[in-house]
Every structure is written in structure tokens, then in C-alpha cells.
Symmetry: C2
Subunit: 614 residues, 2 copies
């Protein structure tokens, strides 16, 4: 498309931004208007995308990191014919897929945005997939706001994109100077962004973001740049084209007061059609698959579940060519290094940058790669917003967190995950697993690869005894009744390390004539409500034991499962109620009241209580 | 101290690092050894600190951002006489305060570290407190690892430190090249760090980190640099001084194999005493205090609780000179801007950098400022690791999150907090509050300022009716029974927006002859277990309603409170179980089953169930 028509297309995008926000009576039209020319040149002359087959690996990807500029994205969709004008005007309505911020409910959107500073890290994941795994010439274009450059995650992405030499990645920085509340720290000093980007290893181009010729040249230069990513730093004007709001504070996130006047000022309604070029057909690289031979452990051996994770993942990688792993510079602790050694082409080191790590995993899975991301479970808290947004992206994400709870010992509370189960249970579409032995871990790792949504596996630092035979099966949503008899007076519910403490407690209780049922709740979400309800009915008394804080963990999950079934039982929750500190693992399990001795004491107390029949 | 003695002191720190790690059989001595000379020069010649009065505002602050190098910090404490040699050798033991990573259990430590990339953002908060609030010449020194430079939060700190012209802040970058698992992305290319730091507005000095004269000059230069912070970029060798481990991978986080040989190689045990200079006595600036005159709202008016937050905080700021606020570039949405306008000297804009925002609040409170931090509740998830670590820092932190739940409407799920209650309940020492009206909000905001630990207040985007008189009192841990009678057949438990829905449901149930008790659980943690237990006993049936996902929120908190009291009731949890999307607030409350109509239907269903006597 030529310059004149590109300018007209930019005006069309502005008009449509004003129109759909006016129809919705909300939205961020001024944020779309600043980037309208940048997007006009992109979609008309550079973007290669098959709207009929949005999942094609050869497609370019366009991420609106400034997701609030959704009016602009939807204006593009209208221009390409992907949606009708009528659909555009349903913007933000309950029955429309055109939400306030883009999500993959829209077929041509891969990842949800709207929490700022996430688009570029996601783009890094997609860029790695295209360049290193698929080995296709498809490009990733990220429309980026200037306000969101204050998010540290953006700089993680800058560093990783350069480290992985992602010359297929172009960031389009829309420097309109104004955030929601006022000016950014940098304002229109484009040179500051240039210096920062260059210091992080990027190629930089500064332009007037309303000069379509300059934009055209910049994109061509980006496409020609080899060995490093490019950022096009564009001086733009927020609300460009409508004098009443141009470069004015106070117009963020608002429909215009007089949309008809604005449309007239912008030259009125247009119906320019954009024929987005389709990419050439090409075959993405794939890796061989084979038979799954999970590691097998002898009952009675002592093996850390984190080690079993690494061994199982390496085996899974041999069986499935689509399995990929990332880790946050702790692969020798999480044992992801076993996968890295076995499948070096499918392992990507993310260094100490957990936000980028999770975002990379989301990007990789968006290109169809079955991605496992690991770090200490405590440090997934660093990426919690990315995990939350991954759920909105409808991502299939496998997260593996090691070093759970006080059982890690001497390193102290900063390294102990004690809120992870609660925070990850609360994520929509999540699955939360915590195996207690190596064989169980291996089976669950294999199951994770076929589980939809956000799947979290919590592994243990210390060795624990193998209690299950290698042939036993474990399914997401299941549990295991390890001990039971007809006379069970109480049920002990553990998960992970506390299963072993519960078993020891059951031994000592048995010596006193109290028979205890022991349930291993290795699947905390979904939880095996049926087995728990049956135990409640049979024993009337339950002790739950978790190496976690008391809120939102195993105990609460059990209570919720019983409530759903209308079961009433006397339930006593044992959990870590104090801020723990350094010490030996056994010392800490005891000090915080979750070892065998405390479990037995709690059981005795419950059994001694007068019976309340339900 | 002169160069020769400084070198000896550095060796002493190395020897002590080896010794205490050997005693503990764990720890990170090689990480302490790289920075030993850097710390020797600092504490002997530059650091000003009154060990007898560690909370003095005039004191310098030293933050070990690389908290795993704790052996070095404790070696310093021994050299200053703050701890004995015997205490040093109790490192990492259960009864010792010298934990694996430093925490404020140690009187001379202000903030916990151990999750990397947090020390510098915390230092920014302390630096702002010293320079802009206290207006004292005290300095902040941050010992920083090179691996942790990959964390985006570090770049948030770089940008904010320059923006606030923190010339009292010096980062000491210990570039030993090696992370836990291998080399960093940058290695020993110090110029890359220099270019990045300069691009972010810092003064930079590159040195050999084992040359005590160079270190001495660098610190002197940092002290003389005005208007911007300084980073001393030091080329160092991990494990320096012990050939067997020097610059070798595989020696991260391990005690040495032959500590006696290493000590001999380092020149043996030393007992150099360091007399740390005390700061000159000076008076920190303070702001006037006055009588608290909270805003008052008329019953029946419609006011958003987020607005009441802003108005109450402005009033609190007038009453208390120690109250300070920060916000993440959304102050016109959270209404923190009302405080900013009323008390501009005590408001600090943190832009879209939630990690830095929370870290700044932790740093500010560490200097005694009563700090409120606000953003959309959903975006506190971006700083979840910082909040978790703030609990380990024993921080008193007031977090205020607006835009809770689906009631925000059109903006869609990226802006809806639906996991916030679960994740924040799980933080140790936390308090979770959710007012439903403006007068209640004002009272709770005032109470927050006197509540210890991590206090989270969740505010609402839409207007809600004022239902409480301005003179009513509300306390942390309380609840309000809004409706009750002798014939209550069921209890409806709401919080925030669902209180109003529960009231409407109770109205319609009453028309059908079902009298419902309605409880406003505005304090979700601690929760008013007594009132809930009484309701369980009286009505036997409870419906909980929350604008939040079902896991770990209000419903689970109620179930847990009932279980603690041994109360059994039939409890039905209403919560948002699907991934929501854009729509009008009322439409969404209905679509996700938490409006009055769904509450009434659930109540009818429970009342119709056959009674189970408890």
C-alpha cells in the first residue's frame, strides 16, 4: 500500500477506535489513535498472517502489549474482513468476543494482554519457538506502550531477546508520552529509550510515528537486521487527529465526549480493505517421538521427588518431540538439568528472571510446544501475575516448583514455598499436584503433559522413601488410601512430605490401639472429594497435615470438598502457623507441628473428644 | 584503615565465611569470598552505623541483596563485635538468629533478602526516606550480585533511583561471573553493566574488586557524586583466595571440602576488630500531626469504597505526620491522588512498576514511615514475591487494591482481582479487609495504620450504597450482623459488593417467608469466628458469596473458622467459577452466579434440604 492510502488507513483506524469506544461508552481510544499509523503500515505492508488458519506455524504474530489499545486491534480486524462493522460496534459487550483487553477468545489473538509489560516477554517466547524450534522465518511484532517500559519484566525481555539473538522480533514502541495519570518518567526523550535498548543489545530506529514513509523504512530495516532484535522507537501523539484530546492529559481510558465531531475531524467513516499477505507454506521442524520409558524406583529407596521430576522429564522428552523445558538458573536444584543434558535443543535457560521464564513458557505453548517451566516453588511468586494472565490466555502451562515448605531446612524462609498451593489453587483452570514419592512423581509428570490449563507440580528438596511400586498408576484428580481398615477411628490426610509423617503417626497410633486411615492427597486441585467424603463418613474425624501456611492449602481444600458433599466431620488442620526459620528439616517439621509426633497428638485429641454424630 | 590492614580484613572475612559454612555444613562461602574486599573497605572506612542503636535514622544502611552471601555479613558482625565468634559458628542452626539468609530477626538487618533482585528496590525505598522525608545525610549501600541483574525488578530500581536523584544510594556490583548453575549472560563484560547503568541515569565506576585502593577511591567518588546514584562495578573472583574453588563452577552454595586447608591458604584465623564509625547526631524531619477527621458519608448515598479510601487516607495524612503513600501510576483510579494533592511531600509516584512500589513501601516503613501502597488489586500479583518477602522482613505494610472482582465490568478479566484474597490470606502475618461501604472503609483505613504485618484492603470500582452510619465502629477481626431475627432459617455471608447482593436476596427471601441472617465479613483475616459459629449453630445453613474465585477466599475462610470451632453446618459457597469476560457489572454478577437472585436461589435450595441435626 502506498503512503496516501496508508495515511487514510491510519485515519480509518482512528475513526473506528472512536466509534467502537463511543458505542461501548468506555475503552481507550486515545491510546489506539497514537499507534494507528504504526499499525496501518504494519498490517498493509509487512505483516504475514493467514486469518483463515490463525494457528499456522508460518504466521507472523502480532501482540498488543498495550492491550488497552484494543480498539485499534479490532479496527485492524475490521479492515482485514475478519470481523464485520456490526461486530466491531459490539465492543466490550457481554456477548462479544471483543473484550476490553484482547484474549484468545478471539481466534487471531494468541495471548491475553492487559496487565502491562507482558507482551514483550511473551513475544520472546514466541520468537524462540519460531527461530530455534520451528526454524521458520515468521516474525513477532509487539506493539508496546511507553508507560509500560517502567515494568522490570520488559527489561528481562530486552536482555533475553538479545541473548537469544531474536532477529525475528520487532518491538514497536509507541512513545505518546502520557500514561493514565500523567507523563512518563522519560517523556518524549526518545534517545533515552534508544540508549537503554542499545545497552541491552538491540538494534534501534527512531522515527516520527505518524510519518508513514519513515515507518515503512523502519520496518524494512528491522526485517533486514540480523543477529539481534529491533526496536522502532516512535514519537507519537496520544489522541492524534482530534484536537480536543491530542496530547492532553485526562483522556486515558475514556470514550470521547463528542464522537461525531471527532469522526468528522478525522475525515469520516472509511471502508478501506486490507489484504494481509499470507505467509509462504513451510514445514516447522519437529523432533522425533518414541515410547515412554519413565524412570522406575525401588520401593524403600530414598529419592527426592525433585530428582524424579528431572529424570521423568528427560524420559518424557525422549518419548515426545513436542516437550520443551525452561528454568530460572536453578536447573541443578530443580533437576531440569537432566532434561537439558538429554535434549539440549529443547532447553532454554532463562536465568534469574522468573517473569520472563513463565512468559517464555506461555509463548512457547502458544506455538504448540508442550512446555515445562521450573524453579524453586517460592519463586513462582515472582511471576504470579504472569501465571494469572496465562490462565486468561487459556495457556497449557506446566510449572514445577521445588524446595517446598520448611522441609528444605537451613536455607530459611526466603527459599521455602509456604503460600504456593494457596496462590496457585486460586488461579483459574489450575491443577495443583504434590507427589510424595519418586514413582508417583514420574507418573504425574507424564500426566501433566496431557492436562489442560495451568498445572503446578510441587516437589521436595529432601529425599523421601519410595512407597509406591513403579507400576502403580496415578491420575490427576485422584488420591491414594494408603492404610485403611474396618475400624478406622480417624483419617490422616497428607500430601508430599507429610504423607510420610502421617504414616509414621499411624504406626505409633496403632500401638495405642487407634487405627488411622491414611490418605495421600497428591492431587490437591482437582481433589478426590469422593474418597475424602467416604473417609469423613467412615471415621468422622480428620486431621489434615501440610507443609504450608494454613490458609488456602490442603486443609482448606479438604474442608471445601467435604462441604460440597454436605459431609460434616470434625476436621483439624495442622499447618505451619509461625514464620519459620533456619534449622534441620526434621527439627523444623517438629518445631512447626507437622511431624509424626504432632500428628499423633492431634489424632489422640480428636479421638478423645465426645463423638458428634452427623 | 590502611590498605594492608584492609587486605587482612578481607582475608578474615573469607576465613570466617569458610569457618561458619563448615560448621553448618552448608551455606554459600564462595559467594561471600568474592565480595570480601568490597565489604572490608566499606565497613572499615565508609559505613556509619551505631550498632547499639540500629534504628537511629542517622545510620547508614547496608543491604545484602545477594542474601545468600550471609557468611560475609555475619563475618562483618563478628569483626565489629556485634556477635561473638561462638555465635558466628552457630550459623544456620535452629537456635541462632544467623539464618541461611539474613532477616530482621538480626537487630542490624532492616529487610530480609534471599529472593534475588529485591535489595536494590528496597534500597530505593530507604533512600527516598532518607533523602526526601528524613532529610538526613545517611547513605544506603547495597551489595548486589551479578546473576540477580537478570531480574527485571533491578531495572525498576535503577530507573526509580535515578528519577528520584538518590545520590545517597550506592550499589556495589560483585561481578564474579558465576551464578548457581553457570556463567551469567554478561560474564565479566563489565562495560555492558556500565552502559546499561548509564543509560538508566546512574554514575558508574569500574574497578578490580580485590584492589582495596581502587575500592577506597570508588566509594569516595560515590560519596561525592551529586544528583544521581552510583554503581561500583567490581570485577571479582568467586571463591577468591582458595585455589581449589576460585572461579570454578560447581561451588555455589556449598561448604568447602577441606575447610582447614582453605583457612591455612587464606592465612589462618584473624581477630581484626573494626570500629564502625557512628553517624553524627541529627534530627530527622517530621511532619505535623493533628486530630483525625475522617470523611463522613450519608446513609443511602452511593459512593465507591475506592473513593472513600482516598478521602480517608488524605484525612489520615493530616492527622498523622508519619503517613506516606505510593501508587503505581493509577492514583486517579485508586484515589490515592487525593492524598497526593493534600500531602505532596509525602506521596511518591512509582509509575507502572509494582515490584518497586511494594519494595519502596517496605523500605519506607523500615525507616519508620507508615506507608500505604495502592494499585489495582489484580496488579499486586505482580509484586507477590515482594509481599511474601515483606512478611519475612516483619514489615508493617498497608496495601490497598482497587477494582476487585467481576464488579468492575467492561475492562475484562486482566483487570479483575479474583485471586487476591486467596494469595494475600496465605501470606504470613497478613490481614485481609474488604469493606462494603464508604463509612466502613474510612474506619478501616484508620485502623490499618495501627495494624501490624501485611494489611490488605480491597476496594470496589462501582459505587455502592452507604449502609452504615458514620459513627459506627469497625475493628480488624470484626464482622457485622446486619440482619437477624429469632427465626433465621439461613445465614448469608458476604463481603464487599456481595453484602449488598445478600441484603437484596434477604429481602426477596423474606417475602417468601424465609428469614435470613446477613453477615458482613469485612475482615476476612482475621475472621470473626465467634459470630460465624453462632450463626452456624442458630441457622445450620450458610451461603457464602464472594466476587472471587472459589479457592482460598471468603468461603474457605468461613469453612476454616467453623472447623476450628468444631461447628458443623451446611455451607454452600457461591463464587466466580468461570473465567469471566467483559460486560456490565450487574450482568457479570448475574452471569457468574453471585447476585441477589442466585443467592436467593441457593438459600431456597439449602432450606429445602432435609435437616441434618448436628
Amino acid at each position: 500500500m502506498e503512503a496516501n492510502e496508508l495515511r487514510e488507513l491510519g485515519q480509518q483506524f482512528r475513526v473506528d477506535s472512536v466509534r467502537c469506544a463511543a458505542a461501548a461508552k468506555s475503552g481507550h481510544p486515545s491510546s489506539g489513535m497514537s499507534a494507528a499509523d504504526l499499525m496501518a503500515v504494519l498490517v498493509a505492508n509487512h505483516y504475514r498472517f493467514d486469518f483463515d488458519n490463525p494457528k499456522r506455524a508460518e504466521n507472523d504474530r502480532l501482540i498488543f502489549s498495550k492491550g488497552h489499545a484494543s480498539t485499534l486491534l479490532y479496527a485492524i480486524f475490521r479492515a482485514t474482513g475478519a470481523i464485520t462493522d456490526e461486530e466491531l460496534l459490539q465492543y466490550r459487550q457481554f456477548d462479544s468476543i471483543l473484550e476490553g483487553h484482547p484474549t484468545p477468545r478471539i481466534p487471531w489473538v494468541d495471548v491475553a494482554t492487559g496487565s502491562l509489560g507482558q507482551g514483550l516477554p511473551l513475544g520472546v517466547g514466541i520468537g524462540i519457538a519460531a527461530k530455534q524450534l520451528d526454524q521458520l522465518p515468521s516474525r513477532v511484532w509487539v506493539l508496546h506502550g511507553d508507560s509500560e517500559m517502567a515494568e522490570g519484566s520488559v527489561w528481562e525481555a530486552f536482555e533475553h531477546a538479545a541473548h537469544y539473538e531474536l532477529d525475528n522480533l520487532t518491538a514497536i514502541l509507541d512513545v505518546n508520552r502520557l500514561g493514565q495519570r500523567g507523563e512518563t518518567m522519560v517523556g518524549w526523550n526518545l534517545d533515552i529509550y534508544r540508549d537503554r535498548a542499545q545497552a541491552f543489545g538491540w538494534h534501534t530506529i527512531e522515527i516520527d510515528g505518524h510519518d508513514v514513509d519513515a515507518i515503512e523504512s523502519a520496518y524494512a530495516e528491522a526485517e533486514q537486521t540480523k543477529g539481534r532484535p529491533t526496536v522502532v522507537i516512535a514519537h507519537t501523539i496520544k489522541g492524534k487527529g482530534v484536537k480536543a484530546i491530542e496530547n492532553q492529559p485526562g483522556w486515558h481510558g475514556k470514550a470521547l465526549d463528542n464522537p461525531d465531531d471527532a469522526i468528522e475531524e478525522l475525515g469520516g467513516l472509511r471502508n478501506i480493505h486490507v489484504d494481509v499477505a499470507r505467509p509462504e507454506t513451510a514445514e516447522a521442524r519437529s523432533f522425533p517421538s518414541g515410547k515412554l520409558e519413565l524412570p522406575r524406583y525401588e520401593v524403600g529407596d530414598e529419592v527426592a521427588t525433585r530428582k524424579a521430576y528431572g529424570e521423568a522429564l528427560a524420559a518424557l522428552g525422549s518419548a515426545r518431540g513436542d516437550v520443551v523445558a525452561v528454568d530460572g538458573e536453578v536447573s541443578n536444584s530443580t533437576f531440569a538439568d537432566l532434561f537439558a543434558k538429554a535434549h539440549p535443543e529443547r532447553y532454554f535457560e532463562m536465568y534469574i528472571a522468573e517473569q520472563q521464564m513463565v512468559a517464555a513458557a506461555v509463548g512457547l505453548q502458544a506455538r504448540g510446544w508442550n512446555t515445562f517451566a521450573s524453579t524453586f516453588a517460592a519463586f513462582f511468586s515472582r511471576a504470579y501475575d504472569f501465571i494469572r494472565m496465562a490462565a486468561i490466555s487459556r495457556a497449557n502451562l506446566r510449572l514445577v516448583g521445588s524446595h517446598a515448605g520448611v522441609s528444605i531446612g537451613e536455607d530459611g524462609p526466603s527459599q521455602m514455598a509456604l503460600e504456593d498451593i494457596a496462590s496457585l489453587r486460586a488461579v483459574h483452570s489450575s491443577t495443583v499436584l504434590q507427589p510424595c514419592d519418586a514413582n508417583q512423581t514420574a507418573k504425574l509428570v507424564a500426566a501433566m503433559a496431557d492436562t489442560e490449563g495451568i498445572v503446578f507440580l510441587r516437589t521436595l528438596r529432601p529425599n523421601t522413601p519410595v512407597i509406591y511400586a513403579a507400576d502403580e498408576d496415578f491420575r490427576v484428580g485422584g488420591s491414594r488410601v494408603i492404610r485403611t481398615s474396618d475400624e478406622d477411628a480417624i483419617t490422616l490426610v497428607g500430601s508430599g512430605v507429610t504423607v510420610h509423617e502421617a504414616l509414621k503417626a499411624a504406626d505409633s497410633l496403632e500401638e495405642e490401639g487407634i487405627t488411622a486411615r491414611v490418605i495421600d492427597v497428591y492431587s490437591i486441585k482437582p481433589i478426590d472429594a469422593e474418597t475424602l467424603q467416604a473417609a469423613a463418613e467412615a471415621t468422622g474425624r480428620i486431621v489434615t497435615i501440610e507443609d504450608h501456611y494454613p490458609e488456602g492449602g490442603l486443609g482448606d481444600a479438604v474442608l471445601s470438598a467435604l462441604a460440597e458433599g454436605g459431609e460434616s466431620a470434625r476436621v483439624l488442620k495442622l499447618a505451619v502457623t509461625e514464620m519459620p526459620h533456619s534449622g534441620k528439616p526434621d527439627e523444623l517439621l517438629s518445631a512447626y507441628g507437622i511431624d509424626a509426633e504432632h500428628i499423633a497428638a492431634a489424632a489422640r485429641q480428636l479421638v478423645a473428644e465426645p463423638v458428634t454424630t452427623s
